[in-house]
Amino acid sequence: MPKVILNGEETKFAEGETLGAFLRSRKPREKNLIVDWNGRILTEHDPLDEFTLSDGDRIDLFSMVGGG
């Protein structure tokens, strides 16, 4: 089974799974994420369901929460 490196840890994903589907299944309650996908900076406003994951992809998630 192919794997991505999610926040530094190997995580399995299904062949053909999109970045959007991956995030919904692993981080269902997370909102306002900054997503670094192989160096590309994305948010939920980007078309995450159009990006298909590949074995070895790096995904780093940073949660933005309110307050300032």
Binding site: N32, S63, V65
Partner: protein
């Protein structure tokens, strides 16, 4: 000399020439600017559409006799009491994904200092497209847990100060000490980026 007394001539020139953008003039932005002015930076672009309210005074760099003033005007006044002659392009407007790149286009680094999580994400994403470094904050409400506030490096142009989890809620209010740690961390990162020091 003033705020420059401790800088060497090279550092002084870099900081005096630099221009820093600040998105939001609340608990983060007002305190970040106070730090950056004291660090010797003189040129800023910033925006906020709000006025000073009594509930701001628990953490923001405003005073009781400024309640009701536009934050842009009140903060300009306060910062010029530290260093007269600052170059302040402060706009009384709501920042959007459309106007952010224009307002900050000639900045060397931009500070995310919003209150709402959606606005924070929007600013970081908008700045990522420009290539201009951005220093953001996430997770700073409540008291204690000082060591939980850390600087996270997304990449060489995006940094986030905070614990990434302590959002404001009915049980977790923003307060001066912890917001101040995050604001100081943001300001410290800005100066390090400008001076090419270790982040």
């Amino acid at each position: 000399m003033g705020v420059n007394a401790y800088l060497d001539p090279v550092q002084r020139e870099i900081l005096e020439r630099a221009k820093v953008g600040v998105a939001g003039l609340g608990g983060l932005g007002s305190n970040v600017l106070s730090h950056l002015v004291r660090a010797g930076i003189r040129r800023f672009a910033a925006a906020d559409f709000d006025v000073v309210s009594a509930s701001n005074l628990n953490r923001q760099f405003f005073f009781a006799d400024q309640i009701g003033m536009k934050k842009t005007e009140a903060l300009a006044e306060n910062l010029r009491r530290i260093t007269p002659g600052l170059e302040l392009d402060f706009r009384d407007l709501r920042l959007t994904a459309e106007n952010i790149p224009e307002l900050f286009s000639d900045c060397d680094v931009v500070v995310e200092a919003f209150d709402r999580a959606e606005a924070k994400t929007m600013l970081v994403a908008a700045m990522a497209k420009t290539g201009i470094p951005v220093v953001a904050a996430s997770g700073l409400a409540g008291f204690g847990r000082s060591d939980g506030i850390r600087l996270r490096k997304v990449n060489s142009r995006i940094y986030i100060a905070g614990d990434l989890v302590s959002g404001i809620s009915p049980d977790l209010a923003p307060a001066s000490p912890r917001v101040g740690i995050a604001a100081a961390m943001e300001a410290n990162t800005v100066v390090a980026l400008l001076l090419d020091e270790e982040i």
